[in-house]
């Protein structure tokens, strides 16, 4: 789908009966939601079921298709989606499927060390604005070249983890040993090259799995391979244009950029597949492990910004992975929506029954600023985030998105009444004109906080800890 697609174009292909079966008031509003990718076309039963609409259904399917094919890597009930992108730049619409990150294990490791590493990969998790940032895939690499060793390694991984898998070898026999261990799953197969492609095609067809096409630093060959593989009947391809640090960094970034731009600006649909980057390649160079980790981190960071849909990484240190997980999360945030955090109760530090209770808006930047100012003040507190539909406190008050009733509901739902023994609510200075109404609606005593959260520290020491208000109950 080109981003210039208008709801009217879509509307013209819909039944135009306004039957309401999709849950929308009329076909035009369904069309608008389709263009915004908020609903699936299949939510329109007549279009799918009735023969007379069949042609339009397929036309719409085609019209709404992402320019970068969405590819699924599955295991059991888990699926990692990569690609499915509609735009070159994030601000043109939104990026949709966050770059999947795979960490490698290799078949020359002992079963114990594989299990250890797999457990580390699976348990790595950071809480971040109400979500858990985690790794997505395990890449099992053949370094021995021996099918039996590979089979054993795959078995150990399958036995100790539930994450979807990337199987890596350029030897079809080795891959076959791995694939035969996981019937029903769709691991990503790495990789078909100019040398092995015909056997790889057979494997991908036989096991019905997505296949990586690899042509390091040779986009023309890459494109030729894609054409060949499509002719062979494959559909789910992933492109590996090569990934090198150091002297190869320049070519790497150029190739990723060029391939993606060719799809979106030169309509080169043969290249409309997810891109795979392997920053792990920096470990081929010699030198200090610390330098390799730094290099792997910034190379992966560059590729997350510059269009990579899946990455294979070796470092597993938190200080390498965490910046990448956050960067990925940030880049894939929908810029069409105000960035908001989940409304609810947030604990800062380890608050207890005499800790201060404050509230703020759910506009993410407000929340970050306020929570980090409270942390900087080194106090333990409860922070209630009220749903202001992603608006800042000032805008929300002005737009009636922040009202006394909303605050009262938020206080009630938070369960804070059972967590503290006092009944004092500190409200943002910018919501001061609501103080009377809030007291009435919540039955809590209101303290008007500072206009700027940087003064929370000062405010609390004077008005909370100085007066020991909690001792009086209310």
């Amino acid at each position: 789908m080109a981003r210039s697609l208008s709801p009217l174009e879509v509307y013209n292909l819909l039944p135009k009966t306004n039957c309401g079966k999709c849950g929308e008031a009329n076909c035009l509003s369904f069309a608008t939601r389709l263009v915004n990718l908020e609903v699936e076309i299949e939510k329109c039963p007549p279009l799918v079921e009735e023969v007379k609409y069949r042609e339009n259904y397929f036309k719409l399917k085609d019209l709404l298709k992402p320019l970068i094919r969405e590819v699924l890597i599955t295991r059991g009930g888990k699926a990692v989606r990569i690609g499915g992108e509609y735009v070159l730049y994030r601000h043109e619409f939104t990026y949709r499927r966050p770059t999947a990150i795979a960490i490698d294990v290799s078949d020359n490791m002992t079963p114990e060390s594989i299990i250890d590493r797999v457990k580390q990969i699976e348990s790595l998790s950071y809480p971040y604005i109400g979500k858990e940032l985690k790794l997505d895939l395990i890449a099992v690499r053949s370094v021995t070249g021996d099918p039996e060793s590979f089979r054993k390694a795959v078995r150990v991984v399958l036995g100790s983890s539930s994450l979807p898998i990337v199987l890596c070898s350029l030897n079809p026999d080795v891959l076959k040993a791995g694939l035969s261990e996981m019937p029903g799953d769709k691991p990503l197969i790495y990789a078909a090259t100019v040398d092995n492609w015909s056997q790889m095609v057979e494997l991908a067809l036989a096991y019905d799995c997505p296949l990586v096409v690899s042509a390091p630093n040779n986009p023309v060959t890459l494109k030729s391979l894609v054409k060949t593989l499509l002719e062979c009947g494959l559909e789910d391809l992933v492109l590996d244009p090569g990934c090198m640090g150091g002297e190869g960094l320049y070519d790497t970034i150029v190739n990723f950029t060029m391939l993606r731009k060719a799809v979106f600006r030169a309509n080169d649909s043969l290249l409309g597949f997810p891109l795979l980057g392997a920053p792990i390649s920096v470990w081929l160079e010699n030198g200090r492990a610390l330098d390799r980790k730094w290099e792997e981190c910034y190379l992966a960071g560059m590729l997350i910004v510059r269009f990579a849909d899946v990455l294979i990484i070796h470092s597993l240190d938190g200080w390498v992975i965490l910046p990448l997980l956050i960067l990925r999360d940030n880049i894939y945030t929908d810029p069409r929506k105000p960035v908001s955090v989940k409304p609810g109760l947030y604990k800062i530090g380890t608050p207890n029954e005499s800790s201060p209770v404050m509230f703020t808006s759910n506009f993410a930047l407000t929340y970050y600023t306020v929570s980090s100012d409270i942390q900087a003040a080194k106090v333990d507190a409860y922070l209630i985030v009220v749903d202001t539909e992603g608006l800042s406190v000032t805008s929300a008050v002005a737009g009636r998105k922040l009202t006394a009733d909303k605050v009262a509901d938020a206080v009630k739902e938070s369960g804070i009444e059972n967590l503290v023994k006092h009944r004092y609510l500190i409200i943002p200075g910018r919501a001061s004109k609501l103080s009377g109404e809030i007291e009435e609606a919540t039955n809590w005593k209101v303290l008007v906080g500072p206009l700027d959260s940087s003064e929370i520290s000062k405010f609390l020491s004077e008005n909370w800890y100085g007066k020991k208000l909690w001792e009086a109950g209310r």
Binding site: S198, V220, V305, G318, L327
Partner: protein, 329 residues
């Protein structure tokens, strides 16, 4: 030879990949920072920021001039970020000594942030601040960026910041400093002082392309041209809203390349924000790699000047930039 392979070879010869090259009408202005003795200042060299003709790292479309790297020094740090004492030692308590240390690591520019003038913090007098600047100009021959209160929201902060920047412009006439921030709310006095005394301006706006362009229009109406302005749309650190900055920079750059001259000033990215984050302490974070990751994202979104905190980040960013070909602009 199997049949498929014959087929493949033929395809390799028949398929081609036309380069998706776009040509742009606009070019980014070049802002020269620092004046040498012969130019009426006291700097040992000057540095040029800007001059890009295409998007960053789109080298198949054309070569941009290399980004400029600044290191930051603060006249006052309330609570030093983790690792800062280890990295710099006691010198962070003395901005002049700190600048001498930073100077040895070869940044293109040094940014001195005189934050203590805020009436809400140390309330240091503008006169005292001028003494500090005098010593700083003695301590380093590098081009200088002088910044005051970075988020002038309160009236007191706004007027103090204006007073500080005006005085700095006058006291160091001819040094071709980069001074700021000026904002839509307060720019006139500082713009006049910069014009009269031959300095450049740091124009700050928040996550809004139109506001950034509007400020440039206001400044240009005052006689400050785009080649005297560095635009700052930094809104937050990695994990604290960096995506707003990245997309705003990308959009502003595209606007400029498409020919909107008022969008055509070079852009700065204050990566240093990233070392003042207070979350993500577990596991122990390496703040210089965190800063490097953020810097890389900013550079890929169009930053022409990045202001860094850690020497390690400067090394790392410089070494990765050295792997790319650059043009003269």
């Amino acid at each position: 030879m199997p049949q498929g392979q014959v087929n493949l070879i033929r395809r390799l010869f028949t398929l081609s990949l036309p380069l998706p090259i776009e040509s742009y009408r606009g070019v980014i202005a070049k802002v020269k920072i620092g004046a040498t003795k012969s130019e009426g200042g006291s700097r040992s060299y000057s540095t040029t920021v800007g001059g890009a003709r295409t998007l960053p790292f789109y080298t198949f479309e054309g070569l941009n001039p290399p980004p400029v790297l600044a290191l930051e020094v603060y006249d006052h740090l309330v609570s030093p970020p983790v690792g800062v004492m280890e990295a710099f030692g006691d010198v962070i308590m003395d901005p002049v000594e700190w600048i001498r240390v930073v100077d040895r690591f070869n940044p293109d520019i040094i940014n001195l942030n005189v934050r203590s003038i805020s009436p809400l913090t140390l309330n240091r007098s503008v006169k005292d601040a001028m003494h500090l600047l005098e010593e700083v100009l003695q301590a380093t021959g590098r081009p200088l960026m002088i910044t005051g209160i970075m988020d002038p929201i309160h009236t007191e902060d706004i007027s103090r910041n204006t007073e500080f920047l005006k005085q700095a412009a006058e006291c160091f006439k001819g040094e071709r400093l980069l001074i700021g921030p000026v904002t839509v709310e307060a720019y006139e006095t500082v713009a006049e002082a910069a014009l009269t005394n031959g300095h450049n301006l740091l124009a700050k706006s928040n996550m809004d392309v139109n506001q950034a362009i509007r400020l440039n229009e206001l400044l240009s109406a005052k006689g400050v041209s785009t080649d005297r302005i560095v635009v700052d749309v930094t809104t937050g650190a990695l994990g604290y809203g960096i995506e707003y900055t990245l997309s705003t920079m990308e959009r502003l750059r595209l606007r400029a390349l498409q020919g909107d001259r008022m969008a055509g000033s070079p852009m700065i990215f204050f990566v240093s924000e990233n070392v003042f984050i207070s979350e993500f302490r577990e596991p122990p974070l390496n703040l210089s790699i965190y800063e490097t990751a953020a810097a890389v994202a900013g550079l890929m979104s169009g930053a022409d000047l990045v202001s860094l905190f850690y020497v390690e980040s400067l090394h790392m960013v410089r070494s990765l930039l050295s792997e790319f070909p650059w043009g003269g602009g």
